[in-house]
């Protein structure tokens, strides 16, 4: 029997002068933890926790190499000497665990705006970036020299700050990418035209950086394997670039990536709709062409998945970013054989990727500790006296409260009225390609089991039960229930809620093949789009109607929008915007086009509502009135998304 041996994952690897203890890399990603261009204690604690959790190598987020580069507020300005103390705190926190840490250094080039700098952005050619829509200034030779000098200067700062290596970002969002890509490089001088010319800047930077670091630090280059934009670089170009990089004999490893940050970001930080390991073809092709160690990335969620990528020869190191955001001890748990205790990432992108676009610091829907390591959140404070805690509702809020309370040593019982845990998450996970969301509850249940939390199914909580059990504390997490908007008459039986569709509790089996359905999206997240896909797959003719400017407005934040559009198109789903439901008249649904005041109508077989829900708060009110020590968390306070439930549950449980 070939039971799973980790033959490669835990073996060391040499990257120039640096040795990693295993093959798991916490690869570069934005955190928004910087303040005023400087690294913070939040950075140090965040990276330190991943080092403590067993990561083999940590590569920080990018540090800007030049004052012309400031595309978003919380960027580390590596070109200022005053970043060095922050670097030291960061590298010390990681080195304490004998883990190497590399700095990624970068100039974002034309993929930026002048909003912060008040200076024109620099790029190889005056080609406006699709996201920032700003025409950049093409750099002249003196400016190119200045860019190269900037990389050298920041490298000096990094070396002084204690980093073990430098990674040059040449993909995603980078002036080097801009030069490499025929889509953005229209130059006719020695830096434009054939690939050897377009790669000149990269090779100059490699030489300049190597000159600074000598043999003391490692040097890596991150190459894009396919920009996924027309006219951009593809895998053949990437292989050639890797060969050129290897030929310099000055580079110790090659990292890989896919997509362009300002055009195809949804393919860089793929959500759960895209298969794990989807970008493996890139390290695989590069590794075949060059002998340098290659890092593979792209939805690595599981240690065995990583092991297989290594054992099948596709890469030498595996980037596990979101996996280690969700569980800082991803590597240590797998190493100790406790793989089943890993809190698996959902690839939901809600609190990590999603918060970057909102200019907020990085967190995790599952891990309240992420980003708050420095505050000691998520650690147990064992209480002097264990309390009896009763929790009503085993959705994400109730379960998280149970976990946090049990961690502090309290005895916890959760009562769930359904036969399964999970609340709305269970329903939300039962739609096309969203099953991984269910891992949220699976992970919570596993943690409850380890902590000895008792869960009773099938019976909810009534005040009588509380009187019998006489708990010291009660936490109410009873969630929310569907609500009818004013315009939908209660007796219109063809008007149903998304939850009815998902739970299969619709009269007469609900929408069937061949029937027409209008889905009303007033929430702007996965609710409407998921059900629309589900029904379209079932053979219904589906139209999604929203009062917003776009269906599933917040899907953009989690990078689910592009996929939704592609799938909706393929499935023939119609999307109609700026329409406000005004009432239902028999079979007719009346819609107001609010920008013009024009009235429209539809007469579908079914109207499915994705509209704000209403909190289930009676239990809380009853218990409070009866004088119990009671708190409430999650949707029964106010219906919101899962992260709010988890955060509130954690806060309430940990506070006991």
């Amino acid at each position: 029997m070939s039971s799973v041996p980790y033959r490669y994952l835990w073996t060391p690897l040499e990257l120039g002068p640096v040795s990693t203890r295993n093959r798991i890399v916490f690869s570069a990603h934005l955190t928004n933890y910087a303040r005023d261009g400087r690294p913070t204690d939040q950075h140090a604690a965040y990276y330190g926790a991943r080092a403590a959790g067993g990561a083999g190598l940590i590569i920080t987020e990018e540090h800007s190499t030049h004052p012309t580069d400031w595309p978003y507020e919380k960027l580390i300005h590596g070109f200022h000497r005053d970043v060095i103390p922050g670097y030291r705190r960061m590298t010390d926190a990681v080195h304490r665990h004998r883990t190497p840490i590399f700095a990624q250094i970068n100039h974002n080039g034309g993929q930026a705006s002048s909003m912060y700098t008040r200076r024109a952005v620099w790029a190889p050619s005056p080609v406006a970036d699709p996201l920032f829509r700003e025409v950049p200034k093409p750099v002249d030779q003196a400016e190119i020299d200045e860019i190269v000098a900037g990389y050298a200067l920041v490298t000096e700062h990094c070396a002084e700050g204690g980093f073990d290596g430098i990674e040059l970002q040449c993909s995603h969002s980078s002036i080097v990418r801009g030069f490499l890509s025929p889509a953005t490089n229209r130059r006719t001088d020695g830096h434009g035209g054939p690939l050897e010319h377009r790669a000149r800047l990269l090779l100059e930077i490699v030489a300049a950086v190597r000159l600074v670091i000598g043999n003391r630090l490692a040097l890596g280059v991150r190459i894009c394997g396919d920009e996924l934009i027309d006219g951009g670089t593809t895998i053949d170009d990437a292989v050639q670039v890797a060969e050129m990089v290897e030929a310099t004999r000055q580079v110790d490893y090659v990292n890989t990536s896919i997509g362009v940050a300002t055009a195809s970001l949804f393919m860089i930080e793929a959500s759960m709709h895209i298969r794990p390991g989807y970008a493996l073809f890139i390290p695989s092709a590069l590794r075949k062409a060059v002998d340098l160690p290659i890092v593979g990335v792209g939805r690595f969620k599981d240690p065995l998945q990583a092991e297989r990528a290594l054992s099948e020869g596709h890469c030498d190191l595996v980037g596990v970013v979101r996996g280690q955001i969700a569980d800082a001890e991803f590597a240590a748990k797998a190493r100790a054989g406790a793989t089943d205790e890993i809190r698996l990432c959902l690839s939901c992108n809600q609190e990590c990727v999603g918060r970057m676009g909102l200019n907020r610091w990085l967190g995790c829907i599952e891990n309240p500790r992420t980003g708050r390591e420095v505050e000691g959140v998520g650690g147990a404070r064992r209480t002097a006296k264990a309390k009896e805690v009763l929790i009503a509702g085993a959705g994400p809020a109730g379960l998280q409260a149970a976990i946090a309370a049990a961690r502090n040593g309290h005895r916890v019982t959760v009562h769930e009225k359904e036969s399964q845990a999970g609340g709305q998450v269970r329903l939300a996970a039962a739609v096309p390609n969203r099953a991984e969301l269910g891992d949220l509850v699976r992970n919570q249940l596993a943690e409850c089991r380890r902590l000895g939390v008792a869960i009773e199914y099938g019976s909810g909580v009534r005040p009588g039960l509380v009187e019998e059990a006489r708990p010291d504390e009660v936490i109410v997490a009873t969630g929310a229930e569907p609500a009818r908007p004013w315009w939908a008459p209660a007796d219109a039986s063809h008007v149903i809620d998304v939850r009815d569709v998902l739970a299969g509790t619709v009269p007469a089996g609900g929408p069937a093949a061949g029937q027409s359905v209008v889905v009303i999206d007033e929430i702007g997240f996965h609710h409407a789009t998921s059900v629309a896909e589900l029904l379209a797959d079932r053979g219904c003719a589906v139209e999604v109607v929203t009062n917003g400017m776009v269906v599933g407005q917040d899907l953009g934040i989690t990078l689910d929008m592009e996929g939704w559009w592609m799938r909706a198109t393929a499935k023939g789903i119609v999307q109609s915007t700026d329409l406000v439901p005004m009432g239902i008249d028999g079979a007719t649904l009346n819609l107001l086009h609010h920008p013009t005041g024009q009235m429209y109508s539809r007469s579908p077989d079914w109207v499915v509502l994705a509209v704000p829900a209403s909190p289930v708060e009676w239990l809380y009110q009853d218990l409070k009135a009866a004088g119990w020590s009671v708190a409430r968390v999650g949707d029964c306070v106010a219906p919101r998304r899962a992260h709010a439930a988890v955060v509130e549950g954690e806060r309430a449980g940990a506070g006991l």
Binding site: L228, G232, M267, F281, K288, H314
Partner: protein, 277 residues
């Protein structure tokens, strides 16, 4: 005479990244499971055919541990050819073949492959040197009349082959083929000081010529190509990567009652060319 060719090898080697060497420890070294099975089968043949069994090894003095184990279990003779532990397979085979010829061994038992080099080529080399038939990688053995053995050998894709060897031959076995008997207490004690014949390895290289051993490095899996997404346009490649069903490879999804589902599944299996009863 029946022979068992045994190898002294570390059963739990480790890699030392600092020196790029495999670290072995005499304390965890001894008979591998396949070698133990080979010894047991040699002893069973000896019992069945009333012939003495000789245990033979090629290795340094420390390797005598495995010979003492063989003596304790019932081997009548024990011979060690003095060779370094890292000798190449053909050198080992040729040294062993010399001893086996001297002993006039008819049936020779070996483990199917050793842990250290792991090539499994010594038994076949022996067969070639001794000009005898070979039955290698046996997982099950039955012992017939004198010098007649048949056994089951693992082929690829789960098939098995039953082979017979008459008049003696070279047989190699997997560890699961037999479990080495426990040596009686008195024999185990006596074996601690039993005599072992030591021979000097034949001088010079055997034919065919050997190769100088190369440097060891940590195992690095060989590069293998994962197909890149198809498509000339970016959108085609994205569709291929995301499997959004816009181009190809979309699974066929059917919603069916159990009976029709069963029919549909059987039809699909048949259409894909699987023989379904």
């Amino acid at each position: 005479m029946i022979a068992a060719c045994l190898k002294w090898v570390d059963r739990r080697p480790e890699w030392d990244p600092a020196t790029s060497q495999v670290i072995t420890d005499a304390r965890t070294s001894g008979l591998s499971a396949p070698d133990a099975a080979a010894l047991e089968l040699a002893l069973r043949c000896g019992d069945a055919w009333s012939q003495p069994v000789a245990a033979v090894t090629a290795g340094p003095p420390a390797a005598e541990v495995v010979l003492r184990e063989a003596i304790a279990a019932g081997a009548a003779r024990a011979v060690r050819v003095d060779l370094p532990a890292t000798s190449p397979s053909n050198v080992v085979a040729s040294a062993l073949a010399g001893v086996l010829a001297d002993l006039d061994a008819t049936s020779t038992w070996c483990g199917d492959h050793s842990l250290d080099r792991g090539s499994g080529s010594v038994p076949a080399y022996l067969a070639a040197e001794l000009a005898r038939p070979q039955a290698l990688g046996l997982v099950e053995v039955s012992i017939g009349g004198t010098d007649e053995v048949s056994g089951l050998r693992r082929l690829d894709r789960g098939r098995r082959e039953r082979l017979a060897v008459a008049g003696g031959g070279v047989l190699s076995v997997e560890g699961s083929a037999a479990r080495l008997r426990r040596a009686p207490l008195a024999a185990a004690m006596a074996a601690r000081s039993a005599p072992i014949e030591v021979r000097v390895a034949p001088a010079g290289d055997p034919e065919p010529a050997t190769l100088a051993p190369g440097a060891l490095r940590l195992y690095r899996p060989r590069a293998r190509v994962w197909p890149a997404p198809d498509g000339d346009t970016a959108l085609d490649r994205i569709a291929d990567l995301t499997a959004t069903g816009m181009t190809k490879g979309r699974p066929e999804t059917v919603i069916l009652e159990p009976d029709s589902a069963a029919e549909r599944i059987l039809a699909a299996l048949a259409a894909w060319g699987y023989d379904v009863p």
